[in-house]
Homo-oligomer: 398 residues x 2
């Protein structure tokens, strides 16, 4: 009798590329080295105390299932939030999900079948790969380049990749991992492509508020594509509430909404306590985000300036999110990042970055690039950059 | 250009069978009729105030992502919980999920591929169908009968259904919707089947503590099948915390654990606030459940006695969970349940039940059966039974 086997799908599930280096970071810490974590998108910004207090102050007799689409009171308040962001939707067009993650999974499951193709500008958020494997969907990367700051690839590049199996394009705006902020013109270009080829546009706008150069233009603001656009949203970064696991899938496509509701009913309801927190967040003052944005902009400015001052380093100025991609004078960023943790320290300190190959689907790309998340205070960023500058010299001469 | 289409999978997703009647219940309420809800498994029992207080008293600066497998402190405490329930596992063999729902989905995704078959005694928890559609898995029902209280079907019935595509059996114990409590002997029978045919056993034990006749024998207590058994667990019913969305997948199969961890990493982490609540629940006194169990037993006894006292009604005594299935002297339970809401009232009251066909995969079965969830206090159950007794007479003479 053959041994029990896991599924092919399970075998194909990618490991988190960011976590590969974790054992080396742990070993460094065990040796007493301080590690600056620029590798993950876990903000250090305080979760607004008022929204945690809203949970604490709720008096529930029974923590019941909520509506599968999320509490109506919350969805009504989100309508106001979206209105402030120039997105007009009704409560019925919003479905609360368990983080942005579930919004992505539901979008894939509702719109794509096994064997269907989805085009994604690379480098991209690595977990799209996992959800694609779960849904049996093929990810088709379209390469963007660090040389122009990861701007939208030309239309002809999209045209080359579109087949009868192509069903959707994913745009993450502002982008993780590149920090690129797509312009209104670029969004209009994408609109032409999805209209011409009858595609869904999955728009991941987790970092909507994190824009430092110009303002955000949402896919939901595009006209004439209300059937095509599916917004995948989350409060994780917005309110530094990653652990809450509250997101939303928003679309004006009624058939997709009905289908997603069936997926939502199968899992009964999104987290209840966290919905209270999410709802309270919609009551934060309009200027709540100003301080956060100013802080991130300060960090970005220091990080980008410091990186570009290092010999052989190139870091395009990211317009949004809290990530920067940098080209380093090394031939293998994975080895270099491991070396930083295993063999290097400066004043008892080192830094951890995410090697870029984990964000590319095309093998061999990004081998001399890293992603840096500026989720540390400016002093820590300066210290981390001190380490990196010295490390690059040592690495070249080793 | 063709219009945008949803996925085949999305089209196949079943609607919640329980929710079909909701509009009729809402209309009845709008007419001023009081509706006793025996249709859904939402307990009315108070969520232990101490576990809600644990959340309120937690002082977090940042609500961060947790470990993808759940907080280690929680998993360590769950080891003690399982030990008290005669299940020996390590923290590494427990993965915290977003409700029992996600444990089911992860189990399917990790172990089964599209086209694989899973055998489930019917009637069964309807949402297995939804997760099966999401994973592309075929549900093969094996029929159990109300006449023997929904005991495990004979081995020869299983043998007839097993094909090279069969990869797993699901047992829900105690059972939703039947309330049947599988005996140790029946569990040993299942063990022989899964060993002989090299199958996974997915064991859904959401109602472990709800046993009124004899004690619970977990699939995790079976010997010699540590690679086969995957426990799907949840705190939803146990602590009347359905809205928390905290469950667990537990297995000693290391490859399955590694695979499920990859699925867990893709969605980052389970809900953070609710993990605090779940962890606090492991500290409830050992006798916490005694009062709850006693209350449910009282309700069951009244419900079953009242049902069997009605002419033409048969309700086997359920050994566990908080559901009872009853055969009614009607030809179409769906129509009758709708009639109860649309056309009937007694002293301004009526009741809502779940028609059984939604729990059967075989078309035509259960047409004269209903599921009653005894999640109301005894007085309300008595009132609901008064309504049902009168309704059945009126329905026969209408």
């Amino acid at each position: 009798m053959s041994k029990l086997r896991i599924s092919q799908r399970g075998a194909e599930m990618p490991e988190s590329p960011i976590r590969k280096l974790v054992p080396y970071a742990e070993a460094a810490k065990a040796r007493g080295v301080k590690v600056y974590h620029l590798n993950i998108g876990q903000p250090d910004i305080e979760t607004p105390p008022s929204i945690l207090k809203a949970v604490a102050n709720t008096h529930l007799r029974v923590l019941e299932y909520s509506h599968s689409a999320g509490n109506e009171s919350y969805r009504k308040k989100l309508v106001q939030y979206y209105k402030r962001n120039k997105i007009d939707v009704t409560p019925e067009e919003i479905l609360i999900t368990t983080g942005g993650s579930e919004a992505i999974l539901f979008g894939f499951m509702a719109c794509l079948d096994a064997g269907d193709e989805v085009i994604i500008p690379e480098p991209f958020y690595a977990n799209y790969n996992g959800f694609a494997v779960e849904a049996g969907v093929r990810v088709i990367p379209i390469t963007s380049s660090i040389d122009n700051g990861f701007a939208l690839p030309p239309v002809k590049d999209f045209e080359k990749l579109i087949t009868p199996k192509t069903k959707a394009i994913i745009i993450c705006n502002p982008n993780n991992p590149t920090g690129y902020l797509y312009s209104r013109e670029e969004m209009e270009t994408i609109k032409e492509i999805i209209l011409k080829h009858n595609l869904y546009l999955f728009s991941d706008e987790a970092y909507r508020e994190f824009c430092y150069e110009g303002s955000h233009f949402s896919a939901m603001q595009l006209e004439g594509v209300q059937e095509n656009v599916i917004l995948m949203d989350t409060i994780s970064k917005r309110y530094s509430a990653c652990g809450a696991r509250i997101g939303a899938l928003v679309t004006r496509n009624q058939l997709v909404l009905q289908t997603v509701l069936k997926l939502a009913q199968a899992r009964l309801s999104p987290p209840g306590l966290a919905q209270i927190l999410g709802e309270a967040a919609t009551d934060l003052p309009a200027n709540y985000f100003d301080a956060t944005r100013a802080e991130y902009k300060r960090r970005r400015d220091i990080l980008v300036k410091r990186l570009n001052a290092m010999e052989g380093v190139f870091c395009p100025n990211p317009g949004g999110a809290f990530y920067a991609m940098a080209k380093l004078p090394v031939d293998d960023a994975e080895k270099f990042c491991q070396w930083l943790l295993e063999d290097f320290s400066y004043k008892g300190q080192t830094l951890m970055m995410a090697p870029a190959p984990g964000f590319y689907a095309t093998k061999g790309l990004g081998s001399n690039e890293v992603r840096l998340a500026y989720v540390l205070n400016t002093e820590d960023i300066e210290n981390a950059m001190d380490c990196l500058a010295i490390a690059l010299k040592q690495y070249a001469n080793r």
